[in-house]
């Protein structure tokens, strides 16, 4: 024990971590009181992401990025007991990440935490939300069984609805005329290198901003945000009643994160990874492609909405969603933060949740 302490002292003397990082860890944060457990979703999303990084590296060490061999390499991975668990963790980790980033977004939106000075926190978070959805989509494709194969086709078809460049974009995604040898490599590069690199970058900026702007205090009805006085007021609040982030506030993040990891592990052990379907053979026509659960509601929506509205939904839907995410902090940067004084925010969240739940339940019945 004493040896360990000496090693730490030597290391700290050379790196200065306790002087540089120590104050950051212990920086004061507002007391969240009744809502303190609502603040754990962001860090839990990060923990789920780290779970994905670790298991993803493990999987990539045996996965073969070839349209002809990926399926067999996945069968090989699944045939080993540990490989099966790793695949399960990666699958349920993805599911957890989607749920948690959704909860985190809803929490931040309802509490108005995106208002001044945290607009950039929100915008980088919106980027991370987009990347997470793209990771989910490409990840499902990399399973490269029959579903994965048809996911690539459906992706190309959806991209094809973009005006003017649709046809080009569709074939760009497929890396050729048809789904073939080059297609899988393209999605692999996106899932394993391109998107994760962007996510690391955005996470770094997001965390930096959390420290720089401080964690938002719980909203209170009748206490609007005024950009001219907010920062001064926030600092006086911290001086009055701030508590050190580590460990008084952060222990909840650690605890909740551990629960998430445990839940992922138990699910991976008990339920296991999604079964591999038939091989990705385009000539097996008796396929009925279905996306993973997190996109199932969108899949159902595309079959149930009126035909005339479809081209608008496929193109404008994501655009409007993206525009909403961008405009939220730009247009609503001041004023009341409490959801009690922002009834529209509650209505928007309820209707979005209702639409998704409605279509999701429809597919379960299908």
């Amino acid at each position: 024990m004493r040896v360990l302490k000496q090693i730490w002292r030597w290391f700290d003397d050379l790196t200065g971590f306790s002087q540089s990082l120590g104050p950051i860890m212990a920086h004061p944060v507002p007391q969240a009181r009744k809502t303190r457990w609502f603040y754990v979703f962001g860090s839990a999303t990060l923990i789920a992401f780290l779970v994905q990084v670790v298991t993803g590296i493990a999987l990539s060490s045996a996965y073969v990025t070839g349209s002809g061999q990926a399926y067999d390499s996945l069968r090989f991975i699944t045939s080993s007991p540990v490989g099966r668990i790793i695949r399960g963790i990666h699958y349920f980790g993805a599911s957890a990440m989607i749920i948690l980033i959704g909860l985190h977004t809803i929490r931040v939106y309802l509490m108005g935490a995106y208002k001044y000075p945290r607009q950039m926190n929100w915008l980088t978070g919106a980027g991370l939300l987009l990347f997470t959805l793209l990771m989910a989509f490409t990840g499902q494709l990399l399973r490269w069984d029959q579903m994965g194969f048809w996911t690539a086709v459906v992706a190309a078809e959806q991209a094809g609805r973009a005006p003017l460049i649709g046809n080009w974009l569709g074939h760009f995604l497929l890396a050729g005329n048809t789904v073939g040898g080059a297609t899988l490599s393209r999605f692999f590069a996106a899932h394993v290198f391109f998107l994760p690199a962007l996510m690391f970058l955005f996470i770094a900026v997001h965390l930096y901003l959390v420290i720089f702007n401080g964690i938002s205090e719980p909203p209170k009805a009748g206490r609007p945000v005024d950009p001219r006085t907010y920062r001064r007021w926030y600092h006086s609040l911290l001086e009055r009643e701030g508590i050190p982030f580590w460990p008084q506030a952060a222990w909840r993040d650690v605890f909740f994160g551990a629960v998430v990891v445990l839940a992922i592990f138990v699910l991976a052990l008990v339920v296991g990874p999604p079964e591999l379907g038939k091989p990705p053979d385009p000539t097996i026509i008796s396929a009925s492609p279905r996306p993973d659960w997190y996109f199932m509601w969108y899949f159902a929506l595309l079959s149930l909405i009126p035909k005339w509205s479809e081209r608008w939904v496929i193109i404008l839907g994501p655009l409007v969603f993206g525009l909403f995410l961008i405009l939220v902090p730009l247009l609503g940067s001041r004023g009341e933060r409490s959801p009690l004084r922002r009834p529209w925010s509650i209505l928007i969240i309820l209707s979005v949740v209702f639409v998704i739940a409605h279509y999701w339940v429809t597919t379960v019945r299908l």
């Binding site: 070839g66 349209s67 002809g68 061999q69 194969f149 048809w150 086709v153 459906v154 190309a156 078809e157 959806q158 991209a159 094809g160 609805r161 973009a162 005006p163 649709g166 046809n167 569709g170 074939h171 760009f172 497929l174 890396a175 050729g176 005329n177 048809t178 789904v179 073939g180 040898g181 080059a182 297609t183 899988l184 091989p279 990705p280 053979d281 385009p282 000539t283 026509i285 008796s286 396929a287 009925s288 492609p289 899949f299 595309l302 079959s303 035909k307 479809e310 081209r311």
Partner: protein, 403 residues
């Protein structure tokens, strides 16, 4: 070496022209001008500038139009008389330009010329390159006749291959050296764009055409020689470029660093993006499906065949499927299996005579037209033919429904 000049160099020239051009536009917008020396010397300028600008504008149009519309140009030049008229006009305009540029150079040459005083080294480089360009152009027109025709099959495909990010210099590498020099120095001119007064091309004051005219009134007789004491007056008006040591040293270093960084990023980034964007166009080939007599009339069956250019590691994904039906002894029809809605594979229901999509419930009649559900258009058909008693299908891209 030719790879550099015909593939790398054009891209470098374009990137620098656009990058530095934009930088100059946003940071030194007021330098977007021709730095006119008209006030200093107007007599020779009139002859040089007018000949040069009218000539070169028309010549440029004659270079760009056939590049944009090669088929039209080919049709126009198909007639021998039209070709001769066009070549002669081009040659005349070229000579007009040569005259213009010689005058423009000559007026800056004399030591005591006021135009010379405002001529920077960059101006001399630009004038020389432009002179070389028009001279070599006239040379091409004289010694390698009917250039307007062979231009279409040599430089045009090369330029388009550059645009498509699939550079292919094979059509120009065999040309005589001095034609190649003409092509390369064309890109030198593009490269010089943002570094010289050539940027004035993008600052043509076309609103002069409709603005109210102005009357210039001299407060002395402009034909009288100016006395030596008043020579200094115009020097105040001259936009002399600031010497480097007058510039804030720090700002210069910052800009140099940004430039160096951008160039490095472009060197690494552009080939990577080009590689990602570059898609080899797969040729369409006919694949045999079996003896024609092995198919029953009126029955839709699933057939599978290889893609036009399967990769060694494609495995099962190299295959494509289609629904084939024999309509009559000689007539076959093949449908893509992909639903026009979102591409899922449709199934043939023989008892109902319908194709059905399992994803979103799209239904098609036996002739491929939409019966019900979300699909926006009929099933796509592949070309089929019967040859020597064998049915053959043309490999085609995955049908993507676009608006």
């Amino acid at each position: 070496m030719q790879t550099f000049f015909f593939i790398a160099f054009p891209y470098i020239a374009l990137i620098l022209a656009i990058g530095v051009g934009l930088y100059r536009y946003f940071s030194h917008r007021f330098t977007y001008s021709s730095l006119s020396s008209q006030l200093l010397e107007n007599r020779h300028l009139f002859w040089g500038s007018v000949s040069w600008h009218y000539g070169i504008t028309l010549i440029l149009v004659a270079h760009v139009l056939p590049w944009l519309f090669p088929q039209v140009a080919e049709a126009v030049l198909g007639d021998a008389r039209r070709l001769v008229v066009l070549e002669l006009t081009g040659l005349a305009l070229g000579l007009y330009c040569v005259f213009g540029i010689i005058v423009l150079i000559a007026r800056r040459l004399p030591n005591d010329s006021r135009a010379r005083a405002v001529t920077s080294p960059m101006d001399w480089i630009l004038l020389l390159v432009l002179a070389f360009q028009v001279l070599s152009g006239v040379g091409v027109a004289l010694f390698e006749r009917w250039g307007s025709v062979w231009y279409l099959s040599t430089a045009v495909p090369w330029l388009w291959s550059l645009v498509r990010l699939h550079p292919d210099a094979s059509t120009v590498t065999g040309l005589p050296v001095f034609i190649q020099a003409h092509l390369i120095s064309g890109f030198v001119v593009i490269l010089l764009f943002p570094f010289t007064r050539l940027v004035h091309v993008f600052a043509i004051p076309i609103e002069y055409l409709w603005r109210p005219y102005q009357v210039v009134i001299w407060n002395r007789d402009p034909r009288q020689p100016v006395s030596s004491t008043s020579v200094k007056a115009p020097t105040i008006l001259m936009p002399t470029p600031p010497a480097p040591n007058d510039l804030d040293r720090r700002r210069l270093l910052v800009r140099l660093s940004i430039l160096a960084g951008s160039i490095s990023a472009a060197i690494v980034g552009i080939p990577s993006i080009a590689f990602l964007l570059g898609m080899r166009k797969a040729p369409e080939v006919w694949r045999g499906l079996g003896a024609a007599d092995s198919f029953q009339i009126g029955q839709a069956v699933e057939v599978s065949f290889l893609d036009s250019s399967p990769l060694p590691w494609s495995g099962v994904t190299a295959r494509t499927a289609a629904w084939l039906r024999r309509e009559s002894p000689e007539q076959f029809i093949a449908f893509a299996i992909n639903c026009t809605h979102l591409g899922c594979p449709v199934r043939w229901l023989p008892n109902a005579d319908l194709f059905m999509c399992p994803c979103h419930g799209g239904v098609f009649y036996k002739d491929g037209t939409v019966a019900s559900g979300p699909p926006p258009k009929a099933l796509v058909t592949y070309p089929v033919r019967v040859r020597d008693g064998m049915v053959e299908i043309l490999t085609s891209p995955l049908p993507i429904t676009s608006i």
